[in-house]
Subunit: 378 residues, 2 copies
Amino acid sequence: MFELLSTQGRARRGVFTCPHGAAQTPVFMNVGTQGAIKGAVSAPDLKELGCQIELSNTYHLHLRPGDEVIRQLGGLHRFMGWDGPILTDSGGFQVFSLAGLRDIREEGVTFASHIDGHRVFMGPEESMTIQSNLGSDVAMAFDECVENPSTYEYVKSSCERTLRWLERCKVRHDALNAQPDCVNPGQQLFGINQGGIYPDLRVWHMEEIAKLDCDGYAIGGLAVGEPTQTMYDIIDAVEPHMPPDKPRYLMGVGTPGNILEAVWRGVDFFDCVMPARNARHGKLYTWGGWINLKNEQYKLDDRPIDPACDCPVCRRFSRAYLRHLLVAGEMLAMRLAVMHNLYFYNALLSRVRDALDRGEFDAFRREYAQKLDGKLAE
Amino acid sequence: MFELLSTQGRARRGVFTCPHGAAQTPVFMNVGTQGAIKGAVSAPDLKELGCQIELSNTYHLHLRPGDEVIRQLGGLHRFMGWDGPILTDSGGFQVFSLAGLRDIREEGVTFASHIDGHRVFMGPEESMTIQSNLGSDVAMAFDECVENPSTYEYVKSSCERTLRWLERCKVRHDALNAQPDCVNPGQQLFGINQGGIYPDLRVWHMEEIAKLDCDGYAIGGLAVGEPTQTMYDIIDAVEPHMPPDKPRYLMGVGTPGNILEAVWRGVDFFDCVMPARNARHGKLYTWGGWINLKNEQYKLDDRPIDPACDCPVCRRFSRAYLRHLLVAGEMLAMRLAVMHNLYFYNALLSRVRDALDRGEFDAFRREYAQKLDGKLAE
């Protein structure tokens, strides 16, 4: 369920509700691909980082440990120790980005596991069954994520098929929720808009999937090779055709600046591996821009990563200490850096919501969109 | 300062006091070699694990980030965020086990850094200066740790030199503590007994270093190649010659069973990398013996690692989840497994102290020494 509290231009302030609680939107979802957050961060740790929704992955969990295993253990919430909302990606993106030797047909995709190469078949029904076994609060529809650029003809036939797949997802999803032993019978289903970088395909596809009355809608297939301005243009084209009473999720995006620009264009949900990946390479966010903590200049720097940050890392440790851990190859560096960056992203969205509540989001976006994507001037 | 509260046979129950607080003994010290605990565990996390004393390493911290850096940042306590007692190893053991191309002379040792091969000189005075810069609560004397077996002649001349080095350590240590800008002027100095596997050398050396009135005494050079029974025999030989009013530290030992047997022989302090290293390979301790969590049998096991354990990991996560993390190569597996094993070691010593307080330590040792070193029968 989604309640729209207020708008500023196209930007939206809302509340999303699902079986495991509510999330204030706009919201950034923290990624725990395999049921754990990269960098030795646990689900209970996420609470301390201000996380509202955790995101895990159908493809990975199906391959290892197996969704049937997780179902037998009571579902993903219990398995990983997270009692808040969980959204599961459908596996579509990973099948097309990670797996090998794909064979795409109308019924679904046969692919080779990236772990051991064994052949796996996944179609709309399989993806829905896996996500039902995991017991997530939001299941994502099984789609084909086409890389940019692809030909108009290919994208057209692909998103026509993705529409047919969504119809099949919906049938199976409803049937699974109705089963008496369903792990999470209140699970919602979000449809995914595709259409590459072709505005007419995007709009046509969005209009078609909107008719299917999903619980929410995602824009997929962006941030996969196209220029940033093209991404914004596609959001501009699609957004007017998204149902205003349903949450909107821009998949896999992005930098702090990208998020502010997408909120400005009417998006409510985000996820991205970037803050954790950057952290592991020593790129840490501050409210004045990012820093590369590996730099020699931080060797004797007794300040926290960001003196304006009140995260568990900034409250306790200095740049000098974290730099030492990074340079020395200590695993603790990964944990502390990831914790800081995830906290920063969650805090960014919290400040976005505050700005929307005060009707000052445009000024906030103008102040921070470029600054946060740039290097801190020191 | 050391207060002996009670004894049972040769086993001792005491309280050790230093500038950053008191520790109940017998005590297990948790190892943070480079100023961080392996497995993404932070110093503040150690509090939750029942740790009383943290141990860091002179050799590693001198090479990286440099003890002068840590001194400028206010000392090791502030650097790593630990306000409890810290003991620093002298670097002697690492110079002889990690570094390359050693040249041992009366003045000290020249060696090649294991990081980049650059030549470094360390003698008694350098080790004392580094440990003073780190500001630990207990500095260990600089010694030569001879591998077992070595010839009687070599061990004899080596431990004669180690005695001369201790005399030099003491002079320098007193001078450093007296300097007005000393990081931790209450730093204590422990001497280290050597002598290989030769009881007469061990006893002679112990009698000589006891005359120097150090704040505590360690038995070094054990668990470096000799049979376990030999280790116990050496402790039996040396212990009667250790001053009863000073704490006794058996360096780098060992399994739970080794620790129980050494407590029974009059030892107060322990440290070992084994619980963290075993954890990283999936070998986890329970009160019924260890388990190998990688085994297929735990795939659907919903129980905690040890149902009798109340550590932060056992309170939240199942064997099945931890096994999944291990098999999937998630860094979180390392953290959770290390946390459990460190908690177990700290809890083991807590139960040792309780048993001593009740005068029932011998029964406790008989019940657990073999069981804990064996595999859990399931």
